[in-house]
Point group: D2
Chain length 296, copies 4
């Protein structure tokens, strides 16, 4: 039987447009947000307000959440008035936050004891992808649960892939941040070398971006970085949060990642300058800082 | 007046298909190669053989070379029976090798004293791009020389960009290797984390490759690396040659590149194992070696 | 009035000999350990047994602890039957564990509310230094508390320094691990280069250890590493625990430490091989693994 | 038969005091320097002047040189009016410069064809050690040649070790720079963490320098670095010269040295700021630059 009643907890910069896309796709939507004012635009679009995560879950066959970090997920899922307290046996909880794979597994384990299934389904694509409904969604959990929830996920994303058992979605998201972080460093060092050797970085990008060294970062963020546009996209502080999750998971699995460890130290250069709210393309300045006698 | 007579020195894995594309484009082509047997296929296609770089240049309005490293370029351009000894004033020398920007400038300076113009025009795209005529070509030199030679370059490449004065082509190529090398490390660390955390790396790629962490390397080389196909593509030893050029140029310009320095050390792990002739995707094994109790 | 009654909680490889030195110095000593059997040797030397940290504290003017990590300190200090529950106002708690500076400050804050003063006084010097009473002790806290406890600390250590307010002892200990970890990497890379270039590393050490590149690690651990003696000293797993504390504190203070981040990744190479219980000199093998075709 | 007549080529900041110690030890000394004025103080002490390296060698049983880099050694040894042109068969050439092990072997090979033996005997200990005669000297070459020259070497150094065949002295010197460079980074990161976490670095040093994380660098250079005294000691530019030799030799031997590669990039931060003539303790500022919003 097709899913109809869907809930959404956490209407931030990502969650709000994701929830809006669920409405557009025709789902009956119930929402909750810690700061109630953020619910207004969705209520205006036809969503119903609930007064707690538990109440959202009570009204929904599938309840989604999109919050900041592991402790937030534990709170909305398992805390007082949390999803676990309202969700009916047979319902599904989908968490779209980026958190520790371990936390995802622990929460899933708790919920399964109450007959509630869970998918960990972090997303990639930023607020632009969230608005456009073109997110990449990497989901971990049981195949049959994934299949049942696919229409919900496809309302929000373009690339929706079942990547393995519970926790796998988070692992894949962390892999995404590893690759993204190093691609950002690739961009930064290429620009730094061009500048240091007296070549216009825009000319450099024209060629390099088109070939075997090309990447999404180079095509999309390098032009901004070159003209000094540091508006996020994705903020340095959030990238660091994710890279800490990466390095924790890598330590747990004894998987050395020397490049990612370096990337994290370089983002710290930006945080030391109070630039945690800049977009990740600011890493160009962290690398430039190594080369330049003068600060920006 | 349009260029008609073109010469090519150095018919290796890159040079041979590039020269063949010049023939296909209708240029009258004279060739020379240190190992004469490598000229045969081109002679069969209509090229003329010369018995030295000087003789190639004497027969050509534009002479190209594609050899291994800085000393090879100095030898074919300025050495005994070199291009400088045969080229007429007003002719052009285009070097497509990847060499030190300094060497490019020094050779250009020598040649300009004899009335011979030069472009440094290294290429990117591998033997596949060389065959298909889809190379990226990044050319340094005077704008009017570039304009005059554009039809020659466009016979071999798809993205042909004038990036600045002499030496700039090499700088951009080095930037390309910086970005490419770090994108390869991005691929390797993402795969290592997936495996370490128990997720199928092919599933990981399906999502990550499609989004903001995507890159040419991830799309084209990661699938090969995952199935243990190490056929080059671009060989580890050649990548190291280029990364040494990068680090030398960066040292000359006091431009710290900590990520690239790390990448070069990791390619050395492969060289230490006698894998210098594997494709660059083998970096996945260098990173895996850090994590694994067992060797491949 | 001079301190006479002293307590000790945590009689592990470090704590037991430290406590024994307190007895030798003439203090009346009360002890507790989670595994009671470990108390026997000290009781034989004249210590009294208590049945909880609270009971130790009730019997003591100064109570010390030496346990593994931040949560252990929180448990013995503030948990059920913890030191806070038994210590009299005016008494002092000295923690000699290596933990997060934040935890030290938080515990001190809790205790101060009950009139109990605290020093964070982590130690360096290993079990050898603990037995010999030659530990370096770096203490944070109020100067007058430090002065009052100095005879206690001097019974266990040779270099006893008051380094600043509460938490400073832990910061200095983390600095010690930063310096020690990088000195170990220095040792490992020097040995790897000697071997790679065909020089007897023992000959190398004979010179290098005596000069400006000399260090305690080079003098004391390099000879062991060269002959393949990996007996700890200080175990890889404990070093990693401390380096994680370092990188957490550095992240909190936005202090990039790229070298230390690399060192931590290299110790992970050893953990991936199941060598977490080897001594830290095993880092020589992690670096050798990069160079060698063959494993140990 | 004991060596009596000794020559010295290259009277720089190291060579001049080394030569003076040879005079003090009673050797008959002939000297040459490119800038003749630098010979004056030694002539005043009793040395004889020659007008070329060849003339020095013609007058000497053992000729030493102390110049900057590989090409300088090739020039004074094998160039016009070089040592090879004046030295008698059976005489010995000892080079005390820090150069590529390959160059040392090549020069030795050339000289051996003329019956001239060679030792490569680079030194460590700085101008202070050179003046005091307390240098560490690491000599490569045949054992009998070393034995014969030992009185000469012991006139200049305190730790004089025969480390293996020709070239081994240079390898050991490069190992020394690997260890020294990473010990400097250890010092810099420990100081950076202390400052970032609000602890007086002088207090930190008081403890850390005395224990298992202690090193010559920490004891001797850290106090200078902390008070902002950047007078060399050993200059950043010379350290970089040596680290380039290290990384070249490591690349030749396929010996990955990721820590040393990082150290070299960090010294480049200083060079980018025009601080190549500062002492190596300035690396503290390169690391501080990563953390600080403000420049020095």
């Amino acid at each position: 039987m097709a899913v109809n009643r869907v809930g959404f907890v956490g209407l931030g910069i990502m969650g709000a447009p994701m929830a809006a896309n669920l409405l557009k796709a025709g789902f009956a939507l119930t929402v909750w947000n810690r700061t109630p004012a953020r619910m207004e635009p969705l209520l205006a679009l036809g969503a119903s307000a609930a007064d707690s995560p538990a109440a959202v879950a009570a009204a929904s066959e599938v309840t989604l959440s999109c919050v900041t970090n592991s402790p937030d997920v534990e709170a909305v899922a398992l805390g007082p008035n949390g999803i676990a307290g309202g969700a009916a046996p047979g319902s599904v909880y989908i968490d779209c936050s980026t958190i520790s794979p371990e936390t995802a597994r622990r929460v899933a384990h708790e919920l399964s004891g109450r007959g509630i299934a869970m998918l960990d389904a972090p997303v990639s694509g930023g607020d632009i992808g969230a608005k456009a409904g073109t997110l990449a969604i990497m989901a971990g959990g049981q195949a049959e649960v994934f299949d049942r929830c696919l229409p919900v996920l496809e309302a929000m994303g373009k690339t929706v892939v079942h990547v393995g058992p519970i926790g796998s979605g988070q692992v894949v998201k962390l892999c995404n941040q590893v690759a993204g972080g190093l691609n950002l460093l690739a961009m930064a060092e290429a620009i730094s070398l061009a500048r240091g050797a007296g070549v216009d970085p825009a000319k450099m990008l024209e060629v390099v971006g088109a070939g075997a060294a090309g990447s999404w970062m180079l095509s999309n963020l390098a032009p901004r970085a070159i003209r000094g546009d540091y508006a996020p996209g994705f903020m340095v502080d959030l990238m660091q949060k994710d890279l800490h999750l990466v390095l924790e998971e890598a330590a747990r699995k004894h998987t050395p990642l020397p490049g990612t460890a370096l990337v994290s130290q370089l983002f710290q250069v930006l945080q030391a300058q109070g630039r945690g709210s800049d977009g990740t393309q600011a890493i160009v300045d962290a690398v430039a800082r190594l080369a330049a006698g003068q600060d920006r």
